[in-house]
Structures are given as C-alpha cells and as structure tokens.
Symmetry: C2
Subunit: 377 residues, 2 copies
C-alpha cells in the first residue's frame, strides 16, 4: 500500500509503433516510439481510461516517482493519484511524451531508422493533430476504444479539444484547462522571441549542436525566461519578488551582477531548463502551439468545431492568466453553448497566472475533483 | 516660413561641460557633452523654456528634420512644433541626449578624456537622478532658472517627475505620460531578458565589441523585440497582424522561415534597431529604468515625493498600456491628491499600448495641447 494520495514508484515504458505515420505536413515517420507511463488499473471493460496530455515543456512523467530518492514527483502529481482529481483508484491513466519531444519518444534526439543518425533539426514539424493521431494509436495499443476522459492544460488542453472535436466517439469527457481556441499575435510573438533566442545562440549550429558536441544552453535558457515570465502574473511576481535586491548585487555592470531577485530567479529557471530540455524540441513544440487552431477542418468556424464534440466538457480559466486569458476560454464556452453542448465553466480567482493549472489552488482542485468524480467508468 | 505645424530643419549642438560631474554611484565624469537640440526662441525673461526628456531608446532629435531628405522627423514631431501641444511659437524647447546615450552625448561610444579610448562597458552606470542633474546644468548653460514645463513619456516621464520632486522651484509645470512611480518585478523581468539577450551574443565581447570591430546585432535585435512587444497591446497586435501568414512561409523549419506576419514584423523592428542603437547604452538605460523609484530620497514614501512638488501636473495613461498601466499612473495621482497638489489626470482609451504617448491619438493630442496652452510663459 502506498500512503494515501501518493501514487508511489512508476516506470515508463517504450511503446513501439512499426507502421509508418503520415504527418499533417505530408512527411512520413517510418516508425516511432511513445515513451509512456500508466497509473492505476485498466478495468475489464476498458472503460476507465483517462488520457493526460502534456503542455509545451511537459512529458510522460505526470505523477509518482521513478525512484524513491527523486526530489520531485511527476509534473501533475498534485492532481493525479489515489483520491485526487484524476483518481487512480478509479481510473487507468495514460500519459505519453509527445512526438518530437525530448524525453524518450521519437523526436530530434532519437535516431533516424534509415541512417542511425540523430534526427536533430531534420525532425519534421509536428502538429496537435499529429500528436492526437499518435495518441489514438496508443489507445488502440491498449485496446481502449473510448477514453473515459481526455485531460490537459494549456497546449495539453488544446490536444484534449482536438480529441473531442475530431474523435467525438472516442472521448466521453474532455477537460481543457488554461487553453485557447488558437493563439493571438501576441502569443505568437512571445514564442517567436523564444525561438530567435535559440537560433541566435552560437552553439545552435543550425540545430546540429549534438553532432558538434555542443548545446545552445544560453539560447534555451533565454527562451525559457521569456516563457516563464508569461506563465506568471504581474501581481504574482510583485507579491513574490517585489523590488527586492539579490544578495550578490554590487552595483557594478558586470555580466554576473544580480540586482533584483526577480532577475536571479529567472536566470536560475532558465539555466535549470536548459539542462533538461532540447532546443530542437522547443522549436517544434512552440511551432505546433502557434499553428494550432481548433477551427481547422471545420471551415474556420469555432462553433462548428465545438458542435462536432459529443463529450461532457470542463473548461477552466484562471483570472490572472494573461497568456491564455479567461476571455479565450469563454470563446470556447460560448461556442459550446451555441451548439448546446454540455459544458461546465469556471474562472478561478488566483494570482498564479497561467501556471495555476499545475498548482494546488483550493477552488480549482475541488472543482476538478468534483467534476472528475462525475465521470462514469 | 515653414509650413504650419512643421518645425523645419534643425541642427543639434554639442554643449560641453568641463566641470567634473559626480554621479549617484560616486563615480566621477571628469567632463561631459550633451548633444542638444532647441526649437523656438527663448524669450527675454527666459521664462518660456520647456525641457523634453526622452525615453529608453530616444535621443535629442525630438522634432524637425536634420536634412530636407530625411524620411522621418524627430521622434516627437507629432507633438512639438508650431501650433502643436509643445508649441514652438510660444515655447523654447530643449531636448538633449541623456548621459550614457549613443547619439552624441558622453556615453559608452565616446572617448574617455584620460586615455582617448572609448568608454565602452566601462562607462559608469547612470541614473535618472544623474540625467536630471545634467539637465539642470544644461538649464544653467541656457540661463534658464525655471522651466515653464518639463515633459516626458515613459522613462522621460520619470525624469519629469524627478525634476518636479527634487527641483520644485525650477519646474512650473510637469507632464508625465505613460509613466510609473517605479518598476514592478514583471517590468524588471522584461528588461532583464533584453539584457541577457545582449550578454549572450557571441559578438558582445564583454562590451568591448567596438574594440573587436564587432557588433552584437542579434542580441540587440532580440532585446528590441522583447521591448517592442511590451510597447504594443495584445488587442492592437491582433488587429494589426491577427494570424496572417507571411509571404515567405514554406512550412519548413529553417531559420529563415517566417510563418506569421507578427514574427517578420518583430524581426524587422529588431534588425532596424540593432543598426542604430548601442548595446552598452541599452544596458545602461534599462538599468536606470529598473532602479528608478521616485520615492527615493523621500524615505520610500511616494506621497512625500509628490508632496515635495510645486508644479502644476499633468498625468496621462493609456488604457491598453500594460507596461506602465493606468493603475501605475493613478498611484502618482493619488499621492498628488493626498498632498493637495494641482493635478490633471486622463486615461486615454486606445489600443495602441505603451507606444500611444508617441502617437497622434485624437483625445490625447487635444488634451495635451489644451493643457500646455494653459502653461504661462
């Protein structure tokens, strides 16, 4: 028995697909792997499966620990586990690293089957549609005809929406947290700045940095600083850092000076990220995010896309999220209501910004748990 | 006679100060120059002088043209000239490049008097207080005991506020547009990302890029992209660019691809800026901005700082400005009202974001003109 709420030790598996996958771009992956974790037990009817979709920098490791000494559990451990919103006492949870990712699934730092060389920058651009198609093949692999729920936040929420709109008979419940029907010009601009930071790094080597035994850590670090800044709210940052001065400040203008704590915090976040994430993957993921538009395939009509869904829907936004503001979630809700789809919507009051969907905000956690408790298996 | 509203040809002058200037940091400039333009005629009483303070990337060239073939006039030509808000038929306007600037005033790319070498990264950190002290010496140079008005937007507005609080007897009217009493953690974070972009450029050479016959253009370009993004509103960007695709898009992942128009626009803005601005100056200016706090010298009390002013005040904010939002201007206004200072406040409804103070927004232009018309000379 694990302690209440603790999912314990989990072990990822490689799920291999040896059929070619044609991507939205027309390019073909001759074969691919999805690094996948599952939590809980698939019931005899295979009716209790929940797919968790990860966001930009997430991966398959959503809950539990790989080793008892791991300092941190998976990225959504607060909401996945016994008695939590995604209750592993009831659900069989599937979480895989998306195609193009850098945590084990086929992507820029895995080998091309023909040559044995790393894909690197030659890995084809993937899209939300591609990810969902691969996830559908993963469902087939597990013999899951219909997901009890598909759940995600941010870019993960966009995958959940795509599932609901394009595979309406395979999704009974859909949760889209801190998401949007598509990105705004400002959203795209932030992603573009992050990409340019990577491309400008002298260790970028046109994406062939691994071949050069190099890593564009500064570019990737800068990209993360830009991203991280947009995940926090202005008020949240003021509360946390204010104008407090960092210890090492000496009033000089040297590169190492750290005047305000918010600066050293962001630099630290950037550096940490640059040691764990892949630059080519970052480009692929941000491009996929930029290009996502749930109305694609529905004549550009958001309402038509939402009308195609059959799932019971939960849409949640966070008051201080300025990356995908509550107004963007309400666009989804309005389109669902216009089509008389069953939707629950909540705007959670919080200073935590976009990142709130990852956190243990009290009202959010309760709402999420209560709504998921109504998911029949 | 120049056409109505057109100030015509203007010529900057170098105003030299051979007395040493002790900076707020304690470091001493043995001598310095301020590159300065003036418009209009100083009256016999020297009572009609208006000081225009520039923002982060501005300079002394606020109005008119240096040559009839100049494609663009000075940066605030919309509001300075015959019959405009800062009416050169009435006022003698003084506009200088701030210390540490890169357009002629003593700064990183001017020579150190002792060695003849460029200052480069060794130019001392300057502050708003230093700029205002230098401007006060400039006033002395012109024999101006009291400014009819000190006027500025953004970082320029902060200089105007500093003037009003620290030289109350030398400022009869003060205009602070799109300003704030000090920066928030989020404001600082954006500046820090811009600085990191410069510092990460391989052509940065610890700031000695000129000695290396190099320029950190990519870093500076990226810094500007970050800045520019914060000067525009999300709605303004959506209206202007939406999700329109750039011509050269080919769906590839190459460095040159330009998928969305907002991306190519920002890249263009960045490149343009990197050809005209100096990276060391950018670091100095953003640091000065970060460190500005109008309550400094007043026991950390904004109210005490505003109570020290004697000027008639105009504070203007712009509804879609999220860099220095209307709430930040209201902090100033509340402090002025608490001290029963004479203040006019307006929040202009616009989608133009922070940049609005530079533009010809109808209500703003009218208000600015009407208020300045009440400035006695």
């Amino acid at each position: 028995m694990t302690p209440s709420g603790d999912i314990g030790i989990v072990t990822p598996v490689q799920v291999h697909f040896d059929e070619p996958l044609e991507l939205q771009s027309g390019k073909i992956l001759p074969e691919f792997d999805l690094t996948t974790e599952t939590y809980g037990v698939l019931n005899a009817d295979r009716s209790n499966a929940v797919l968790v979709c990860h966001a930009l920098s997430g991966n398959h490791h959503a809950a539990g620990r790989h080793d008892p000494t791991d300092r941190k559990p998976g990225w959504w451990d607060l909401h996945i586990g016994p008695g939590k919103a995604i209750d592993t006492n009831r659900f069989f949870v599937v979480s895989s690293n998306n195609l193009g990712g850098c945590d084990g699934s086929t992507g820029p730092n895995t080998a091309q089957p023909e040559t044995g060389q790393l894909w690197g920058p030659d890995f084809p651009q993937v899209t939300v549609q591609d990810w969902v198609r691969a996830q559908a093949l993963l469902a087939d692999h597990f013999g899951i005809a219909t997901w009890a729920a598909v759940v995600g936040g941010s870019l993960g929420g966009m995958q959940a929406l795509h599932w609901a709109a394009h595979y309406p008979d395979r999704v009974r419940n859909c949760v889209a947290l801190a998401a949007a029907p598509k990105l705004t010009a400002q959203n795209i601009a932030f992603n573009e700045i992050a990409r340019q930071a990577i491309l400008a790094d002298p260790n970028w080597f046109s994406g062939h940095y691994q071949r050069e035994a190099s890593t564009p850590t500064r570019g990737l670090s800068l990209a993360r600083m830009v991203g991280h800044l947009t995940y926090m709210s202005a008020d949240g940052m003021s509360d946390r850092f204010g104008r407090d001065i960092s210890e090492s400040s000496d009033g000089s203008q040297s590169e190492d000076e750290m005047v305000f704590q918010v600066e050293s915090y962001l630099r630290y976040q950037g550096k940490q990220f640059s040691t764990r994430f892949d630059a080519n993957t970052y480009l692929l993921m941000t491009r996929a995010l930029d290009r996502f538009d749930i109305s694609e395939g529905f004549g550009g009509s958001l309402e038509a896309a939402m009308a195609a869904t059959k799932a019971r829907m939960l849409v949640v936004s966070f008051s201080s999220d300025w990356r995908f503001s509550p107004a963007r979630s309400r666009e989804l809700v309005d389109a669902l209501l216009a089509s008389e789809r069953p939707v629950t919507y909540a705007e959670i009051q919080t200073d935590a910004g976009h990142d709130a969907f990852l956190l243990d905000e009290a009202h959010y956690a309760e709402l999420f748990r209560a709504w998921m408790a109504q998911v029949t298996v």
